[in-house]
Symmetry: C2
Amino acid sequence: MNVILLSGGSGKRLWPLSNDIRSKQFIKLFKDEGNMYESMLERMYKNIKKVNNQSTITIATSHTQVSIINNQLGKEIGISIEPCRRDTFPAIVLATAYLHDVKKVPLEESVVVCPVDPYVEEDYFIALEKLYKLSKNSKYNLSLLGINPTYPSEKYGYIIPENKKEVSKVVKFKEKPNTQKAKEYISEGALWNGGIFAYKLKYVLEIAHKLIDFKDYNDLYNKYETLEKISFDYAVVEKEEKIQVMKFEVKWKDLGTWNTLTEAMNENILGKGIQNEKCENTHIINELDVPVLCMGLKNVVVSASSEGILVSDKKQSSYIKPFVEKINQPIMFSEKSWGSYKVINVQENSLTILVTLNSGNKMKYHSHNYRDEVWTIISGNGKAIIDGNEQNVKPGDVITMKAGSKHTIIANDELKVIEVQIGKEISVSDKQEFDK
Amino acid sequence: MNVILLSGGSGKRLWPLSNDIRSKQFIKLFKDEGNMYESMLERMYKNIKKVNNQSTITIATSHTQVSIINNQLGKEIGISIEPCRRDTFPAIVLATAYLHDVKKVPLEESVVVCPVDPYVEEDYFIALEKLYKLSKNSKYNLSLLGINPTYPSEKYGYIIPENKKEVSKVVKFKEKPNTQKAKEYISEGALWNGGIFAYKLKYVLEIAHKLIDFKDYNDLYNKYETLEKISFDYAVVEKEEKIQVMKFEVKWKDLGTWNTLTEAMNENILGKGIQNEKCENTHIINELDVPVLCMGLKNVVVSASSEGILVSDKKQSSYIKPFVEKINQPIMFSEKSWGSYKVINVQENSLTILVTLNSGNKMKYHSHNYRDEVWTIISGNGKAIIDGNEQNVKPGDVITMKAGSKHTIIANDELKVIEVQIGKEISVSDKQEFDK
């Protein structure tokens, strides 16, 4: 089967573990069979491959997520990168064109589009494959997965099917209702719209060519910025008569808040943490090097990272967004294609960072106009290039770089470096990159 | 008046703000009139001076606390340093000898001895002066302050006075009772024994000379390690007939737990913190640079420092000690006579530290056998001496020191340095100090 996973933007609701760079789907919170922690993305990818090892998976995302996706899934994974945000129709068209032009999937083939972040069990992946086959072998242009509602939620749009069979024509879509309306819909057999649907490549690409003047994937990619913002619902779904829905009966959790997310965790403590015997239904998710001690807490989630500390009653945790938006904190931790960095000290005119370069990786050759930098190698071996001069580096070696000097470092094995930045206005935007 | 403040050892109960070096009396938690934060020690000192500007105050403490006491009260404060722990009798005798031999207080003078860490109001300090005068002008050898109990506490010893007058002879002392016994004592007019008492210097020094063979303060200090461990109660109080107690009617709080301590705080948030409108009776005490966000918490204290994070139901916070004792965390922050240090990153074979040298101060000239060090100056100006060679330093300068090299740094103005330590077994004990 072919799958497009929509990997969305930042998740303020899981602060401090999610930030503008690390969205919730990348946080490693779930134990796999081998007792290793995996992210929602890894879990989703692994399970699709388990159901059908031949699946072609493409992740539709933005530039900022590429490094972390490659770190988690390897460099071979298909990624359709939106050069900028242009709503769901351009994004889905771009990924569909990518499947056809880059991955060479035939136009007659079907693809399933689904979000990367629901927490689902094995049956979900079996349903995805059923949906794929349904789309491939039917005359309906769009095939949706409709989730059987477990309560009258106000958070979902609803799909009204013609009848109560497993697969039915869709009569109507309903916007997110209030609880009362939701109850009415459910009594009439309505299903949650989880944004999971399948279509033939041909179908979407034909609509796209009518609306957008483009040749192929590369052409669309290059003119992406000029595209009009338009939703897939508006451009496609609302104009389509031939839509069917397949009923999906089982577990579906939208892990968008700490409350729902902790329900899906295998253990109550992740990272360094202690709970005394008076704690009940309390979770610690701690990415710091120092311990969290909880005493006598009930229904509380404690989450700590380099960005901050959240202590919340679980139900209240769904209201954190406006508070987090007011926190004006620089990004303290980021995964990069070459490894990661972590801000370890902030002063008025200096910033100290722990840089980890993965074995065999290097930074881009770059310089800064307004800051000096000092590297102290603390572990690993590698090679530094400063203004064209190469030198091997080992623990204890120190390299000083004045503003303007071009520099990079290449890791032979995993290399850890303490980088001290000194300057009047230190900013991530003060960076010039060079090819060599 | 003359006062000996007993400054006791580490307070695990206020972890993570207190540690083996920073006891609770040094944590700056209380707002003074000028809206600046002050510690229990500063508050105690200031209030004694307010009641009587001529008071001679001596702090009886151990070596580890001298730097922080000098930082908080200045270098002129009298400190009687116990070279090692020998229980309360040797400690009180040493401080009394210090008052007489160093501070030149006459033998006929009285001194009030009291702990540094209760949270008390102005009337307490007036009571101390009354106690001092009572001792000075009476034939009783010991004059105690008896606190009028507000509830049948199991945490105090009780004093049974002969009558209910403001000042009465003491009939008996009772060990910490259970609640039932405490109720009985209180109904008979018993008072809490808060460990506050006054005596004439002569009286304690005469007993001391009978029990210990010493000439004067210096002699006692030098042979301190050879002294027998013996409590003041056993050596003095239990053998004494002529003891009186002065009743003290008002507020007295033992701020030994987060529960009691937060009751005395002026505000609910200290440091970077946010509470949503659903929080009740919740306190944030945050020494980290990143924010703490609390949502929907009731009766909870959150305290965060470089050592760790405590999240506790307030009542449960009195039971943290055994949990904290199990946390095997190196000391991450320490005040020194010359400034402070803060561990900002820990790796297997390296440690990165932010060193702050106060203006005009310097480290001891020293070396390490098993680690290299790299200093990067990030702010301020000063002078480094490496193996006898002096050089001026400014922001951006880097100094590398191989294991074995002697080094120090002197601050012209406040100097901040990132120190990277690299070595196989990094330990605070790997340090050799030199005079020049």
